[in-house]
Homo-oligomer: 282 residues x 2
Amino acid sequence: MHQLQAAGRAVRAMAEWAKQLAGIKGVMLDISGVLYDSGGEGGGVPIPGSIEAVEKTRLNCGCYSTHAHVDMSTAFAMIKASGLKLRFCTNETQATRGKFVAKLQRLGFNILVNEVTAPAPAACRILKERNLRPHLLVHDDLVPEFDQLDKANPNCVVIGDAADNFSYKNLNEAFRVLIGLENPILISLGRGRYYKETDGLKLDVGVYMKALEYACDVQAEVVGKPAKMFFQSALAEMEVEPQQAIMIGDDIVNDVGGAQQCGMRALQVRTGKYRRTGSQMG
Amino acid sequence: MHQLQAAGRAVRAMAEWAKQLAGIKGVMLDISGVLYDSGGEGGGVPIPGSIEAVEKTRLNCGCYSTHAHVDMSTAFAMIKASGLKLRFCTNETQATRGKFVAKLQRLGFNILVNEVTAPAPAACRILKERNLRPHLLVHDDLVPEFDQLDKANPNCVVIGDAADNFSYKNLNEAFRVLIGLENPILISLGRGRYYKETDGLKLDVGVYMKALEYACDVQAEVVGKPAKMFFQSALAEMEVEPQQAIMIGDDIVNDVGGAQQCGMRALQVRTGKYRRTGSQMG
């Protein structure tokens, strides 16, 4: 009897999910908090497949409404079987894209480097275009991503998820570079507030971005979710229009809000940093 | 000839200064950046007496106007000779008030503990009144100020100028306490952006307050300048009315703005963090 009830729920969930997918040609997937929780010795643990997801669609009035409860394993199977285009959109900046993908492959995910849109390569393009020489406040493992850039006599600060590198000394150093510039430019690889690692919640780059913004009275330029340009670049790489794409992530601001601002649909999953009580923060 | 010119300038400065002092019965003095620059082996160096000061008075339209250039040594001599009430108002939270005053005495200043208004003792009063048990993110040397408070099972976070204690680990710990509270209370011992030490500019508590505010979507309660209650408490201790008092400090927001919000007059000195070019920040 219990099994029959579960099967009934799954069928209903699939039917609702299929309705939501009408017209969708491409799916963007967040990685951290959706596919795996980062942290620990192995670099993270995959999230089990039986995950409830809640579709949030923006109504004309600008409010959110909660539509369908979907089993995530069902959703994954449907994406793979349907011939939909799939792209991974991450704000992960604790490692180069190559190292990050290698870790996910070790964890059992079938992902290639060129399927991933990440902030650091996007930032590098911007820095080159604008002849900017960055002072880096990033994770040690992300530094090689900027190898080809001139970093002498910096004329901007780039901040990523530096984790333990967010010492008082390092933040002060970045501050002194910024406050010493006639035209202070702060580029932030995301604006996330926190994320979940295996041993608990951790402060994300957005928190330190806000700190430097306040210290120097500047506004950071955000590369990464929820920046419109980041989603547009991923859409171009998938060759689909915004209204043909859906973003699946655990972050109401960076994933859901960012995608919807771009005209995409979005799904929030109840994993990662999702907290049943209290406000949902990016 | 050169000396005569200098004497002439001093006389004009004194005349203008005296006009500004009309009706003044009490003077509040900032300490860091006005009396001394902190940092280094001895804990800081006194600022030489020949300091230009610029009075900023708020006009009815809400703008500032720059009035009088005053030699600071002249101002100090006049305060002492005139029988004006004198009180020291500091946002210093790197040491207990007792230790801080002892350091200033070693540097040659004639200051007593009970002449100083500082944020930590004010915060202790508030915590006791509201039965709050603080998680402290402060400088090691400030901890004894909170000795008499219950700190088990914290129901608020108190943040001060923790300097090197602002590690990623410690900020994350404070964040986890806050985000875990049903009603998150963040008390900040000031909202300064940066201050000057002997070896350069240093990030102040306000920067980390903003970081935690953003991480947890809360608004901190500020104890210390520029909070109105802080100035009111100093006025009460001096037994003068706001319009009878003048604040002298190097910070346009915390000293000048805070005092003016209280109905006091204010003087900004061009020492400490004052920067001739660029915006003036608290």
